[in-house]
């Protein structure tokens, strides 16, 4: 027996906890924008260094998303920890991750144009980032191939573990090859770096804000995934019931 369809608006994937998380994320994001846009001009990059509050935090979150996807996929594949919830976490994190990878490329390109003079160049870091986007779009495509939920989960988990290989290469690209891209932004957080305190504060708030936004999005996307699975299972149950009814009619 199915529950009657609901009427009127309902917070389908939200709970009081996600509302609080969303509010804190929004507050941190507002603070990041306010702090970032108020950063002082620098001698080398003038006004463009204000993008430091957005671009490195978006890139960090993209890495975090694909790392969570890989860990959840490994936990799904490991027989002792196999649980469909890990597959949902991987799916949710990958989709949110693709949004952040795309934003990483877009904000990087916007920063590159006035400082390097080009929107895009085939440098090692940029190429590895573009490859990362393609690989995770591929992961999402694998998830859309029609299959039994368990088969899809296994295929996707293997794909995620293959795709994660590009992440350390991307991260270390600025050390291993001569690139236009600057060194690792996280290295600027060392006490010995030349970065001014205001820039570090804006960047750290940006890291916090983007991580909170990511967490909020993943929780909602996870619940969407669960609802989609339930809908698929109901559709399957209805199809089986229909076939059985047809078989009974033929027998009669």
């Amino acid at each position: 027996m199915t529950a009657p369809p609901s009427t009127g608006p309902r917070r389908a994937t939200g709970t009081p906890a996600t509302t609080v998380l969303g509010a804190v994320a929004l507050l941190a994001l507002t603070g990041t924008v306010a702090l970032g846009l108020a950063l002082p001009l620098t001698r080398e990059q003038r006004v463009y260094s204000r993008l430091i509050a957005i671009h490195p935090p978006v890139a960090w979150t993209a890495y975090l998303a694909v790392a969570v996807t890989a860990i959840a996929s490994a936990l799904y594949l490991w027989p002792r920890t196999r649980d469909r919830r890990w597959d949902r976490v991987a799916a949710a994190s990958a989709e949110v991750g693709v949004v952040f990878i795309a934003l990483m490329l877009a904000t990087g390109s916007i920063w590159g144009r006035p400082t390097w003079g080009v929107w895009w160049t085939w440098d090692a870091r940029l190429t590895a980032s573009a490859l990362m986007l393609v690989l995770y779009l591929g992961y999402l495509a694998v998830r859309r191939v029609p299959a039994d939920i368990e088969v899809r989960a296994r295929r996707s988990a293997v794909t995620a573990l293959l795709a994660i290989v590009v992440v350390p290469i991307n991260h270390m690209a600025v050390e291993w090859w001569r690139t236009l891209h600057q060194g690792r932004s996280l290295a600027e957080l060392d006490p010995g770096s030349n970065l001014d305190g205001a820039f570090i504060a804006a960047m750290l708030l940006g890291f916090l804000a983007m991580t909170l936004v990511y967490a909020w999005l993943v929780v909602h996307r996870y619940r969407v995934e669960a609802l989609e699975e339930r809908l698929a299972e109901r559709g399957l149950d209805a199809a089986i019931a229909e076939r059985r009814a047809e078989a009974v009619m033929v027998d009669q």
């Binding site: 369809p5 608006p9 389908a12 924008v33 877009a106 904000t107 999005l217 619940r223 609802l227």
Partner: protein, 38 residues
């Protein structure tokens, strides 16, 4: 400043649009399935 505003703007717009898409999809699915999965 145009590039800076473009960087911040595109980030905020994309995040808001994606969040809206996830929320709307969740509401539609919950109405279809008949349970809000809490």
């Amino acid at each position: 400043m145009t590039y800076v505003l473009a960087g911040y703007g595109i980030t905020l717009v994309v995040l808001v649009l994606y969040a809206a898409r996830v929320i709307v999809r969740g509401r539609t699915l919950a109405r279809t399935v008949g349970d809000d999965d809490r």
